[in-house]
């Protein structure tokens, strides 16, 4: 079959049946740990014992890889970041979720519920996992004054002293970071949402990034690379995740949520429209939203849990504080990843926005 839609089910189920005995999960590394990599890191085995659903999982490195994998229809549950979720929904790969069948959904922070990256036309397509922000990390020895603005990586004046030691996230979605900065610093461009850029706005962001590129030492996509770079001093300023900062042994390295706010990600557990084991899939979604499992998974990965109950279960009592979990004010300043589409997300109808393909194209040109 050439990927015809015949076997896709996008409507939500009314009630659950018996578990099928197995479930196949597609997720970021560290989301589905069964102890095979480290016996102490295991929240899959309890699930399997509890529900009788045997878990097979595959991990992916980028959202884009995940999209391809998801389309194969082999996975029942997919952990999707905001730059993937809407694409899954648009291509009918996701099934609406009946949140009533996910008891632990009730605990979740309200600001993570029914967000625009998991809910379309009032239909909820997923339950939230943890979340985290793309922060600004810097080596304070290289700065007279700790930077508080993304200007540190976008303004030539500030970039110059760190030429060749600036780093940035290696993905088209990073264009949103530039757009966010422009939104705050150049209001006349009229950017309302960093994920809704018309051609002109995109061009401005691209220009900004091309300027930045001259000072970039390397782009990163796996965090081991960034940890290394900051420890050795190959990189001294750039975007980061909180968990990376936590792992950098160099005491001079600090992170800040800049004044402009930041882009961020919130991953969503989604149900495949081609799911072969929807009942086990629901069981998994409920399980992974349970305070114990959510605490383990988000703490292991290094992100904020999705419920106050989970915060109580973390092994590090300061975990939620470090990651600003449940801090609504903090969350207010975050622009969670979404997939840019032609139909402007900010509601504009007079222009056509640039879609992800255009962003990819732009990203190719930025890197040159």
């Amino acid at each position: 079959g050439c990927g015809e839609d015949d076997d896709k089910e996008t409507e939500a189920v009314e009630k659950l049946g018996d578990p099928e005995g197995e479930v196949s999960i597609l997720a970021w590394p560290g989301y589905v740990e069964d102890g095979s990599n480290d016996p102490k890191v295991d929240w899959v085995t309890p699930f399997e014992e509890e529900t009788g659903c045997q878990v097979t999982s595959k991990v992916y490195g980028t959202s884009d890889e995940a999209l391809n994998l998801a389309k194969s229809g082999e996975y029942d549950v997919i952990a999707a970041s905001g730059d993937l979720s809407l694409r899954l929904i648009a291509s009918d790969e996701a099934q609406e979720i009946n949140t009533d069948l996910v008891p632990n959904y009730a605990n979740v922070y309200d600001f993570l519920k029914d967000t625009e990256w998991n809910t379309v036309d009032g239909k909820n397509y997923g339950v939230p996992h943890g979340y985290g922000a793309n922060l600004l990390m810097f080596d304070k020895k290289r700065f007279d004054k700790a930077p508080t603005s993304w200007g540190a990586v976008f303004e030539e004046e500030q970039l110059k002293p760190n030429k060749g030691k600036v780093t940035a996230y290696d993905s088209p979605i990073y264009i949103a970071d530039a757009a966010l900065y422009l939104m705050k610093t150049q209001p006349d461009l009229g950017i309302e949402n960093p994920y809704a850029l018309d051609q002109e706005q995109l061009d401005a962001a691209v220009d900004l990034l091309k300027t930045q590129r001259a000072y970039v030492g390397e782009y990163w996509s796996d965090y081991l690379k960034e940890i290394q770079a900051f420890e050795t001093g190959d990189s001294v300023v750039g975007t980061t995740w909180q968990v990376i900062k936590n792992n950098v042994k160099n005491p001079d390295v600090e992170v800040v949520l800049p004044d402009e706010g930041a882009t961020a990600w919130n991953d969503t557990w989604m149900l495949s429209s081609q799911a072969k084991s929807p009942n086990c899939a629901y069981a998994w979604m409920d399980y992974i939203l349970s305070p114990e499992a959510n605490a383990q998974a988000t703490e292991y990965f290094g992100e904020a849990p999705n419920s106050p109950q989970a915060c109580d279960k973390t092994t590090d009592p300061k975990h939620c504080e470090t990651f600003h979990a449940g801090d609504e004010a903090y969350a207010e300043r975050l622009w969670f990843w979404r997939t840019p589409v032609k139909e402007c997300l900010d509601g504009r109808t007079d222009v056509e926005c640039t879609d992800y393909a255009a962003w990819t194209q732009a990203w190719t040109e930025i890197k040159g």
Binding site: W28, S36, P39, E74, N247
Partner: protein, 266 residues
């Protein structure tokens, strides 16, 4: 050859120098497998056996290793069969389109991995409509491994000539018997060499594998790639690499012994 002593010394120095350089990064790997600093920076900040302990407990690594061995073994077997058949056909017969077939065999290795990767990915899913799995990896690997076997067998056949086969037929052996008792044993060391290269190629392949691996099909390189993205796991990867190097010496040495013993017979 008759080289002056300084020239010999220079060559030796060069060879051992380069080999030393080749092993230097491997030393880094060894060092990092006991480096207390989990981000593997140089110089090591302290010694720890933590990663070795964790590697020993890592059933994921073990399973991935087994998967890789299986994939490589099956792919190598397929490549051995197909490569030998092709070499026999191309070396012993002349027919229309011979050059095209020759080019076709070289192509999978000559075309970049990403190309082969997406072509096969697209081919499997869109055209054949099969789900990616362990078997799709095997098929992909076998396809680009054929050439190593083919090359080795063809070179051997060229040197071998046909007189032994004629002698066998002369003594009354039929076509199949001759192949089984005479041709195949003569090809043994070539098959060993080609097979080993094919095995190594498949065992460590990641690019084509990424595109053709199904869910749950985690080969060692994929496991390693994943673990590089997983907190606190990266150093374990180094341990796995060290173990691989150490254990690979035995089969490499054996194969080398075996094939040179066989060659001596010739």
């Amino acid at each position: 050859m008759n080289l002056s002593a300084p020239a010999r010394r220079l060559l030796a120095a060069l060879t051992f120098g380069v080999l030393a350089l080749v092993y230097l990064p491997l030393l880094v790997v060894v060092a990092n497998s006991v480096n207390a600093n989990q981000s593997m920076t140089w110089p090591p900040s302290g010694l720890t056996l933590e990663w070795w302990r964790r590697a020993a407990d890592s059933s994921g690594a073990r399973e991935a290793l087994l998967t890789s061995l299986q994939v490589a073994a099956v792919a190598t077997c397929i490549a051995l069969v197909l490569g030998t058949l092709l070499a026999l056909a191309l070396q012993r017969y002349s027919f229309f389109g011979k050059h095209t077939v020759n080019l076709l065999v070289i192509l999978p290795i000559a075309l970049p991995g990403v190309v082969t990767g997406i072509a096969l990915n697209n081919g499997f899913r869109a055209i054949m409509g099969v789900d990616l799995s362990l078997w799709t990896i095997v098929v992909a690997h076998a396809t680009f491994c054929i050439v190593t076997v083919f090359n080795n067998v063809q070179a051997r056949l060229r040197r071998l000539g046909t007189s032994l086969e004629e002698a066998s037929a002369d003594l009354g052996a039929g076509v199949g018997t001759t192949f089984r008792l005479i041709t195949l044993p003569q090809l043994r060391s070539a098959l060993l060499a080609g097979g080993m290269l094919a095995f190594a190629l498949s065992f460590d392949e990641i690019i084509v594998t990424t595109f053709t691996a199904g869910g749950g099909a985690t080969t060692l390189p994929i496991w390693i790639l994943n673990n590089m993205f997983r907190p606190n796991q990266a150093p374990v990867v180094n341990v796995v690499a060290v173990v691989l190097i150490v254990f690979s010496i035995v089969p490499v040495w054996l194969a080398q012994r075996l094939s040179s013993d066989l060659d001596a017979v010739r």
